[in-house]
């Protein structure tokens, strides 16, 4: 598989007051196009920093990041916004739906700003929410809200889907259903999906597993036989 996402010796240092915190010390890895990649590590390992930088929400201190042929690390703020806008779909741990927009509208909110969006209703249908489209987030369960969030990310037709602990706020069954949805997206639509989690049980479902610890990529392995989500237990 081609190297779609490429991290080259990425370093990130935060300055908090007079203290420098090394969030990422040296991260080098690649993710192939259409892969389902799980980045796993304990709390404080630098997972989120990694995701922030990849998602164009934060800049790095050293190193290079490529998405396809473009060097994301060289983008300015405006270019980063455009990058987020057209290339990235984001799924948050706490869904982050706009509370006074219906499910459909939340999806439309994202679709509005894209060049080539998918039909919002279609996407919602594809995540199994055709009957809840007119509901406000407050009227939806957590799983449903996360589905809406995923639909919102997908509707942008992004090159890369980034998920930050997508099951973190969900119960076991719902979490599984969401993971299943993400795996299906990757399998059926060839979407490159990167999931960040502290739950190493999820590595079984991934095409590629990247382990992070203390701001370092400790291992990068290709899983030649990923397990369907239904079979994973944790």
């Amino acid at each position: 598989m081609s190297e779609f996402v490429r991290f080259e010796h990425v370093k990130k240092t935060y300055h908090v007051g007079e203290v420098d915190i090394q969030a990422l010390q040296d991260a080098t890895f690649t993710v192939g196009k259409g892969e389902l990649c799980v980045i796993v590590g304990p709390s404080g390992a630098g997972k989120t920093t990694l995701l922030n930088i990849l998602g164009g929400m934060d800049t790095l201190t050293e190193g290079k990041i490529f998405l396809g042929d473009s060097e994301v690390s060289a983008y300015n703020t405006r270019q980063l916004t455009t990058y987020r806008r057209y290339d990235i779909g984001f799924v948050f741990q706490f869904y982050n739906l706009v509370p006074n927009l219906t499910a459909l509208e939340n999806v439309e909110l994202a679709a509005q700003i894209c060049k080539d969006p998918l039909d919002a209703a279609e996407v919602l249908k594809s995540v199994g929410l055709e009957k809840r489209m007119a509901n406000f987030p407050a009227q939806l369960s957590g799983g449903e809200q996360q589905r809406v969030a995923i639909a919102r990310a997908l509707a942008k037709n992004p090159k890369l889907l980034l998920c930050d602990e997508p099951t973190g706020a969900l119960d076991y069954a719902t979490g599984k259903a969401i993971l299943k949805l993400l795996q299906d997206m990757s399998r059926q639509k060839g979407m490159t999906v990167i999931i960040i989690t502290h739950n190493s049980a999820l590595t079984a479902m991934a095409d590629r597993v990247i382990r992070v610890k203390n701001g370092m990529v400790v291992s990068e392995e290709i899983n030649t036989s990923p397990v369907p989500v239904e079979e994973i237990e944790w």
């Binding site: 989120t48 922030n52 998602g55 929400m57 934060d58 405006r78 916004t81 455009t82 990058y83 987020r84 806008r85 057209y86 990235i88 984001f90 948050f92 741990q93 706490f94 982050n96 706009v98 509370p99 006074n100 927009l101 219906t102 509208e105 439309e108 909110l109 994202a110 509005q112 700003i113 406000f136 987030p137 407050a138 009227q139 919102r152 942008k156 930050d164």
Partner: protein, 1103 residues
């Protein structure tokens, strides 16, 4: 409160200082505005009351048509409840300000017990011809000038003013003139420019014009107690006034009668005396005349004598001169004779000498010869000749020796002898012989005889000459005497001449004296006669006067009739009225801001509350923290706001009112009740809001609180049910609309705040429009004439035509009118207004009588047209009866036929017929309305019009217009204050709301940023709803503003002005634009805040 909690609270304040300050500021502003506007009226009132008390404005002002005497004044001061009574005089007079410029000044006598003047500059008068002047009219530079009483003033005024001019020694303010109005006058321009106070001695008067009373234990002005005091005394004062006036009438009547009788007696005595004296004087003059004639005759005689004497003298002189000439002739003759005599004497002397010489020669010769003879004889030589011959020949020496001997004997010698002989013969030229000697002797004899004869002749001639000389000398002496005599005569004549000249002079003087005497006598008698005739006229006048002496009319005026006093009450109540409406906005907004801020804060700290509760803190303890937070902010804010607001706002308003009043610096009063009320209200608002916000949260279980709060559910808004419309909206607009309607309290706060801001702006600009329109409407739509020329005397058609021709004006550009000042009385209300009576029964082209678009006909008989302001003020309606009472206390009753528009001053219009019917006299047409010529400078034309001697004043409307304009321009400051207030309001509301909006939705904003919204899209996503709310609020504000403006205008009715309730469409525009500008500024101020939002926020868990 537990210490930790207190610490936590204080730390909370430090951490969210912006929010804390926001509460503090809004509470401060709210309280400041509330207290400031609320205190303005009491402050002003306190200032006014203190001022009136300090300077002792009168309580009663009594007037009578007959005036008051000192006894009357005493009687009033004896009244129970009256502290003091003091008489005073006053008059309006024309003062010469500059050349051709006369202005109307009211002169009042200085009083000791009431109406004390407040000295602003200079000193009080010390001499009767000194005065202190109106500090509003005169400036310090005027000190030392002479306030000159123009000779154009009428006789009564000139009589009353004891001096022609009064030196201005000080500037004063008077409680009698509390505001800028100085009233109107029947003289000059009809508008009083200022006042002067003159010592009572500076007036020459018979009776006081008015009496001022001060009452005992006077209560505060404007208070109900004061009104009660006045009410309780008024009827007694009225009774006494009437009684004293009647007494005065009787006295005057009796005095006048006695005077007339005395006058009659005096007059007849006068005539008698006149006649006697005249006869005496005539006799005296006749005597003097006779005397002069006698003198004349005497003089003529004297003159004749003199002339005779002169003739005589001249004759004498001639005679003398002739004599003198004769004498001179005889003197010459005498001198000639003397010369002749002298010549003769000389000849005689010569002849005598010759003779004597001849005789001597002869004697010599004879002697010689005789000797010869003897010798001859002795020698006997014959004859001598022979002897000589012999001798000479020497022939006989003997002879010669004998002869020589003989001769030697004689002492001679022959030689000598012969020499002598030869010499003698040589000298006689012939031989010496006897014959010759005989002949010589005979010759000598003959010569002697001739000489003797000549001598006798000479002597006779000399004797004759001597005689002639004596005669001449006598004549000369005689002539000298004559000369002396003549000189004496001349002296005498000269004396006589002088005497005559003196006599002439004396006579001439006598004549002049006589003529003068005659003239003098004539004049004196003419004067005496005139005086007597005057006396007669006076007497008949006095009789007429007595016949005219009417029963007196009296007036008992209170402070309610004093313009300044009443206006002050009205004007301060405007402030009070405004203070009711305006602060409500601020308080409401303050409450809402507190509410939203505190709700937000409690929401934010939900988890913390939950934790505290979980730790076992009671609800009260938890709430105390938030109550402390908002309460302390409110307390500090309200105290600061109260202090600042209650100082600055009244100060600003007083400064603005200073244009009208400004008699004293503002007294600041502290109203503890108001302070407590505002503090309480502020605390209630903020802590109440906090309590309400907290109560909901605190009622929940701790576990609930620790869990994140479910976001407020989205809701469909009513617009969504209008599907066609909703569909048309772009997606993001839908979001905004839904957001707008999401929080109702915020919507209300926004609409109220922004609406309030717009409303204030509309009101502010509207105030300006209404006031500005006064000037334009008044001078472009109503007052069409450009000049008002006041004449000293009543004008007729002829005099007006002559005047117009003189100044080069067309008759059709002029209108003759009667202008007067009258009191309009309706019910118990009275008001001084301007009366206009048109000589043509029409005002077309000069004053436009209209009401709105509708033209009004000139009032007919028994009708009156009044202006709207007056009608409103007096509560008049068409069909009402009003009484018009003028200065001379004549009165006129008419029915209101129409109400016309007029903004500056109050006017009533009646027809000449009405005036004539009710007043019994023709109106005095002393004023001429004139239209200006196109393109001419109005002030120059005005000056030209004033050049005529008969003109006492020319009012140039352009000048009035610019004056009013100037005054009203100051109102712009009020507008500015309003705009600033509005701006402050808008800022607070917008900033707070937007700030809360952003903080509250920080997660949402971060999310859409993560979704890839550009900065501008994020900004418009957030601010669009603010703009929508602003637009909505300002639209509501326009409507609120119109209502507020109407309300405020209803309060702002300044006495002499009527403001139309009108707002220009531009003002709505300005208000809208300004509101949007405020919104935009807030947008720009808060935009950076959006940029600072960290997208990582979106990843955080909900707190």
């Amino acid at each position: 409160m537990v210490r930790t909690m207190l610490k936590s609270s204080l730390r909370e304040i430090r951490q969210s200082l912006g929010r804390y300050l926001a509460i503090l500021a809004i509470v401060g502003l709210g309280v400041g505005f509330f207290a400031g506007l609320r205190m303005s009226q009491p402050d002003m009132m306190a200032t006014g009351v203190a001022y009136l008390r300090e300077y002792g404005l009168y309580d009663f002002q009594l007037m009578s048509t007959l005036g008051f005497t000192d006894e009357d004044v005493d009687a009033f001061s004896q009244m129970e409840g009256i502290t003091s009574a003091e008489g005073s005089v006053y008059t309006d007079f024309l003062m010469e300000r500059e050349e051709n410029e006369e202005i109307v000044i009211t002169a009042r006598s200085l009083t000791d017990t009431v109406n004390h003047t407040e000295l602003v500059a200079g000193r009080m008068p010390e001499a009767p011809n000194e005065c202190v002047g109106d500090a509003r009219y005169f400036s310090e530079a005027d000190l030392g000038m002479t306030v000159t009483v123009s000779p154009n003033n009428d006789e009564d005024t000139l009589d009353l003013m004891a001096y022609d001019g009064y030196t201005l020694v000080g500037l004063v303010r008077s409680p009698y003139y509390l505001n800028y109005e100085r009233g109107t006058s029947s003289i000059g321009s009809g508008s009083v420019a200022g006042f002067v106070y003159i010592p009572l001695d500076g007036f020459d008067f018979d009776a006081y014009y008015e009496v001022y009373l001060s009452i005992d234990d006077v209560a505060d002005a404007y208070s109900e107690e004061y009104e009660a005091q006045i009410d309780s005394l008024k009827s007694q004062v009225e009774d006494l006034t009437e009684e004293r006036a009647q007494l005065r009438y009787t006295t005057l009547y009796d005095d006048a009668m006695a005077e007339i009788q005395d006058g009659e007696q005096e007059l007849s005595d006068g005539w008698e005396e006149y006649r006697t004296e005249k006869a005496d004087a005539e006799q005296e003059l006749a005597d003097a005349h006779q005397e002069l004639l006698d003198g004349e005759k005497e003089y003529a005689d004297g003159l004749k004598d003199y002339e005779d004497g002169k003739q005589q003298y001249e004759d004498g002189l001639k005679e003398y001169e002739d004599g003198l000439k004769t004498l001179e002739d005889s003197k010459a003759q005498l001198e000639d004779a003397k010369a002749e005599l002298d010549d003769a004497k000389a000849q005689l002397d010569d002849a005598k000498a010759e003779l004597e010489e001849g005789e001597a020669s002869y004697n010599q010769l004879n002697t010689l010869y005789q000797s010869a003879v003897q010798l001859a004889k002795a020698t006997s030589t014959g004859t001598p000749s022979a002897l000589i011959k012999a001798l000479q020949s020497g022939a006989s020496s003997q002879l010669n020796t004998s002869v020589d001997q003989a001769l030697k004997a004689q002492g001679s010698s022959l030689e000598e002898f012969l020499g002598g002989w030869t010499q003698a013969e040589e000298s006689i030229g012939q031989p010496l012989t006897q014959e010759y000697l005989d002949g010589l002797s005979a010759q000598l004899e003959q010569g002697r005889a001739d000489y003797e004869e000549g001598l006798a002749d000479y002597e006779a001639g000399y004797a004759k000459y001597e005689k002639g000389r004596l005669e001449y000398e006598d004549g000369l002496a005689q002539s000298e005497d004559a000369k002396q005599e003549l000189a004496d005569a001349e002296q005498e004549l000269r004396d006589a001449e002088k005497e005559l000249a003196d006599a002439r002079q004396e006579l001439d003087d006598g004549w002049v004296e006589y003529e003068d005497g005659v003239k003098e006598a004539d004049e004196e008698f003419a004067d005496a006669e005139a005086e007597l005739l005057d006396g007669e006229k006076e007497l008949s006048d006095a009789r007429q006067e007595l016949a005219d002496l009417k029963n007196p009319t009296t007036y008992v005026l209170t402070r309610e009739e004093n313009t300044g006093y009443v206006c002050f009450d009205n004007d301060t109540s405007i402030v009070a009225a405004i203070s009711v409406v305006f602060p409500v906005f601020f308080f409401l907004v303050a409450a809402l801001v507190c509410m939203t801020t505190m709700t937000r804060m409690v929401d934010e700290q939900r988890t913390q509350i939950g934790v505290l509760k979980a730790l076992g803190y009671s609800n009260g303890q938890v709430m105390a923290k938030y109550l402390f937070y908002s309460g302390s902010a409110a307390l500090v804010g309200s105290v600061a706001g109260y202090a600042a607001g209650s100082y600055w706002l009244p100060w600003i308003i007083w400064e603005i009112y200073g244009i009208i009043y400004g008699f004293a610096p503002l007294t600041f009063i502290f109203d503890p009740a108001l302070a407590l009320v505002s503090f309480a209200a502020a605390l209630l608002c903020s802590m109440g809001a906090t309590y309400l916000s907290c109560r909901v949260e605190l009622s929940k279980a701790a576990a609930d609180l620790i869990r994140p709060k479910a976001p407020k559910a989205g809701k469909r808004v009513f617009l969504e049910y209008i599907t066609p419309l909703w569909r048309r909206l772009s997606f993001l607009h839908k979001v905004s609309i839904r957001n707008v309607l999401r929080y109702r309290s915020r919507l209300i706060m926004m609409v109220l705040g922004i609406g309030g801001c717009t409303a204030l702006l509309v009101t502010g600009f509207g105030l300006r429009d209404s006031i500005k329109s006064v000037v334009d409407d008044q001078f472009a739509e109503i007052t069409l004439f450009d000049y008002n020329v006041s004449f000293q005397d009543t004008q007729t058609e002829e005099t007006v035509s002559a005047y117009l021709e003189n100044v080069g004006w067309e008759r059709e550009s002029a209108l003759l009118v009667h202008n007067g000042s009258v009191n309009v009385i309706s019910g118990d209300k009275s008001k001084s207004v301007n009366l206009v009576v048109s000589s043509t029964n029409d005002l077309e082209g000069f004053i436009s009588l209209h009401s709105g678009e509708k033209a009004i006909a000139y009032p007919g008989s028994g009708e009156v047209v009044v202006n709207a302001g007056l009608a409103e003020n007096m509560g008049l309606a068409v069909g009402d009866q009003v009484e018009l009472r003028d200065d001379d206390l004549g009165s006129l009753t008419a029915t209101v036929s129409a109400i016309c528009d007029n903004y500056v001053f109050n006017y009533v219009y009646v027809s000449p017929d009405t005036y004539l019917e009710q007043q019994g006299t023709e109106p005095e047409y002393k004023n001429l309305y004139l239209l200006a010529h196109e393109g001419e400078d109005p002030y120059q034309e005005g000056a030209l019009l004033a050049e005529d001697d008969g003109v006492s004043n020319v009012a140039v409307n352009e000048a009035t217009r610019s004056q009013v304009d100037n005054m009203l321009t100051r109102m712009d400051y009020i507008v500015l204050v309003v705009v600033v207030c509005a701006g402050a309001l808008a800022f607070i509301v917008l900033y707070n709301l937007t700030n809360i909006n952003i903080t509250e939705r920080i997660r949402e904003i971060a999310t859409i940023e993560v979704l890839g919204f550009y900065q501008n899209e994020v900004a418009s996503y957030v601010f669009r709803e603010i703009f929508i709310l602003s637009a909505l609020g300002s639209l509501v504000g326009l409507a609120m503003g119109k209502a507020l403006h109407a309300f405020v205008m209803a309060q702002v009715q300044i006495d002499s002005m009527f403001f139309p309730c009108w707002i220009a469409w531009q003002s709505y525009g300005y208000a809208l634009v300004l509101t949007l500008v405020f919104t935009l500024v807030i947008f720009l101020a808060l935009k950076p805040k959006l940029r600072k939002i960290d997208m990582a926020e979106s990843l955080k868990s909900i707190e």
